[in-house]
Amino acid sequence: MGEVSVLLAAANAGDRAASDRAFELVYADLKRLARRQLRIASPGHGATSLVHEAWLKLARPDAMNVNDREHFFALAARAMRQLVIDHARNRAAVKRGSGQIDEDLDAVATRVGSVGDTDRLLELDQALERLGAMDPQLVRLVEMRFFAGLELSEIADVSGRSERSLKRDWRKARAVLHANLDGSDLHD
């Protein structure tokens, strides 16, 4: 059985440390996979493929049941968010003249000509943090859809929820987050 499967099974039995370890494992490997040039279908699907790749590599799907799969994708999506946000932070730090630039990843960015929406991403991360305190389910959905690039139908598939209710939640999350990217509303 894959290490992640074991950890998820333990996490499902209430072992919090196992859940954290699984997250660390997935994060580290996403990062490593990112460094190691993966086969990826098209730029738009980069994140999804990455998550699928990590899933195949780490989770050994043969050894995992359906619920662990849901858990895994949630975990991978969270790790994806972390990866993107960490990177954005790194960039922000570089812009301010502090911090160590991640050469590997940045060499490409210059070539592409866009540095992305670093600040908006960091704001989004904070808004998500605040929303998470009230409605973690919405945050998981945003992580899976936006950061991991999963389709609603795929999310429905792994979570067992109907696509209709996911769509409704997405609309809600989107409205709330967009309205609050400046952080004015979700403060306690």
């Binding site: 919090r16 370890r21 580290a28 460094r35 040039q37 980069g46 043969d62 662990d68 990177h87 967009h178």
Partner: protein
Amino acid sequence: MTDADWTRVSALLDELFDLDAAACAARLAQIAGDDPALAARLQKMLDADAVSGLLDEGIARVAPTVMVRLSEPEAAASGNPLRAAACSGLQLGHYRLVERIGAGGMGEVWRGERIDDFEQQVAVKLIRPLMDSPALRERFSRERRILARLDHPNIARLLDGGVSEDGTPWYAMEFVRGEDIVSHARHHDLDVRARVELLLQVCNATAQAQSQLIVHRDIKPSNLLVDDSGRVRVLDFGIARLLDDSADLQLTGTGVRVYSPVYAAPEQIRGDAVGTAADVFALGAVLFELLTGEPPHPQRSATPDRLLAGLDHETAPRPSQTLRERSRQSSELRLSHFAREVGGDLDQIVATALHPDAVRRYAGAAQLGDDLRRWLDGHPIAARADTAGYRMRRFVARHRLAVGSASAVLLALIAGLGLALWQAGVARDQAARADAETERMGRTYRFVMSMFNAIQPSRGGGQNQQQTVEMLLRDGLGRLDTELADMPDVRAGLRASWSALLISLGHLDEGLESLEQAVAEYEALSPDADGDLVSALINVAGAYKDAARPDDAEAAARKALRLLESEGSDKVAERIQARTVLANLATFRFRSDEAITLNEQILEDRRQISGLKPSDLAVNYNNLASAYLYGDRYADAERLYRDLDQLLRDSPGSPPSRRVYSLSGIAWSLLGQARFDEALQVTDEMQAIGRETLSEKHDLVVSAQTLRARVAAARGEYGLADRLFADAIPRMTDSTASIALLNWGAGLVEQGRHAEAIERLQQARELFASSKRADSPPGLFCTALLETARAYRDPDATTNAQAALERFDALGLQRSDDRVRAMLAVAGLLASQGRTDEAAELGRQAASQATALLGAKHPLSLEAAALADHL
């Protein structure tokens, strides 16, 4: 915003989304009357809803720095066509190209002739160069020399090869005139024997190559040509390996793998190590196609993601089944004739060759060939040797096997599935979050990650970038003794954390060894470091469990518990963790009494944690209830599941779908108490909720259907039960399908439908075996029942059914309701063979065991007593 505000905002948004513009404005105005700030906030959200923003852009646009990098190599990999178009007359080595006879993903095939001997026809393959380097050229020519030594009448000889001036690798092979093996069999209308003999030639060739450690890796009909004389030639031996290597040399990780999805073994598709068993799988696949006209897994997708995802659900198919299905749809007499001939041993041979788990297949082509020869000669085959006692006496009597095996369903279904839905609740659990050890590990991890970030791999350092975390950890662990010799507590702490990380990175053995050392270090510091020692023991217990060392795991967890007790223990979280490990172990080892006690204690502890809402306990209710169910304490299980159901109904915001878990638990409890009509009501409600709230293919909805099928069978509605089972099982995972098949088979035995029962039970047993649960109580019950059904069917042989019973004892699983069920089945069989005394004795034993285990009023006890009396 407070939680209460959010609940309100969330509900109002739901409401407003459904209104048209006018009604929406009116409703907002109404809200503004009571709470202008809230209305303004909602207005802002509705405005945001109407325009696009960050979240619509896609992560690739928003964070190109990360994403573009990830997607880059695709472009690099897709280039590189054949550098110069090969053309007629081109000279390669001693050969000249004459005409192109084929082209494919990896290159082109030409008919060629030897320059100094026009008579000698050859096939020349030109390979799309993945990379040109001296290393590759060297590798290529070395492999070619090895392949050139392959000399077998059924292998197309490799004559020459090399790398052309423009860097295109090529090789020349004996030119075979013929057609592929499947078409040949069809055109010549060969019978089953002749088809098997054709494949035997392929087996012989492959076996000889394998004896020289050469694996083909791409056996498929188009690589198996039959000439006019009926001689088979295997093409492209070892070429797949050659191509793989050239791809590996590129080190791009683009994952070029040469195989044909339809015939490739699962491990090959997964990218795992490939050995002789992969060829066995492909040989099995070709044999399957020779017998049925179609490959065994025609549904396999061409896209890698789906291909991989689909592997989960594959089982070894049986040719006779495919033939029978097709003969039902067509009037072709030949199909049903084939089905009869193929059914039985040949089915078994193909299924063994096609087993999803490589170690369960024939070890190599030679072993497969041996069994095919035995089949041709009419001898017993090896694939079936373990069930040699299956020929026995015919029989008529039947009896009911009471409630069937519920136990493992709970493991697979309720215990596992239920919990994930409650993850959200667990995540909110403040007590667990405050776990100090987790925090400490997190800090250490961040520390390590920061080290990792600081050290940029040197430019031009080649492919060393992949090492990283493991490297640092190993390095750090190695330096601990010298650099932190004076700080034993810090040293132990870092060692414990880093070993845990190493384990989480997949280096279980290495990390475990070092974790053991950390435990020893803490022990030397005792009693000052007992708090840390407890955490380390809990970690090491988890690692032992993962390393399949349950005794060590148990010892470590127990020691942690003892320390917690002697401390006076306010550390509830640790106590829960340690007991969770023990409870898992107890469940795993079928010690249900112990699992129950531990889960009761865990639930009690969780109740003491302040700040937990009742719904946070749902997961523990579920665990304990399933432990009850698992221990056949159906009344207790029913009570607790009903409490859980009430709790879920009372929790606002709890999705209705969760009730499927509690309801299915109630239904199993009722089934266990033989209260079939009530069970029917509960399953109806459960299915209604499941269909409403979950997708049709959700595991739980499918499992609910098999539960309904069990109820139907228990109520004598056999036709309905058959339909429900048949519809649900193909959609289930292996672990749940195995139990469903077992229950179905048990029902069929009760009805005296032994042939069908054997088929179902065989499938169940394969699934038990492939998931390494053959020696679990339901797995053993399955074996016993299968042997019983075979004995009913074939009266001439001696039975293995009693041997299956003894297996329970050998494994220390006497205290199992499944054993009682198995005893009843065997007793019925003995009675039918006229061995009344033995049957009565076994019936009495079953009755007394059932009474001791489950109480005298349990349906299984009553059943056993009735049987004993009757005899």
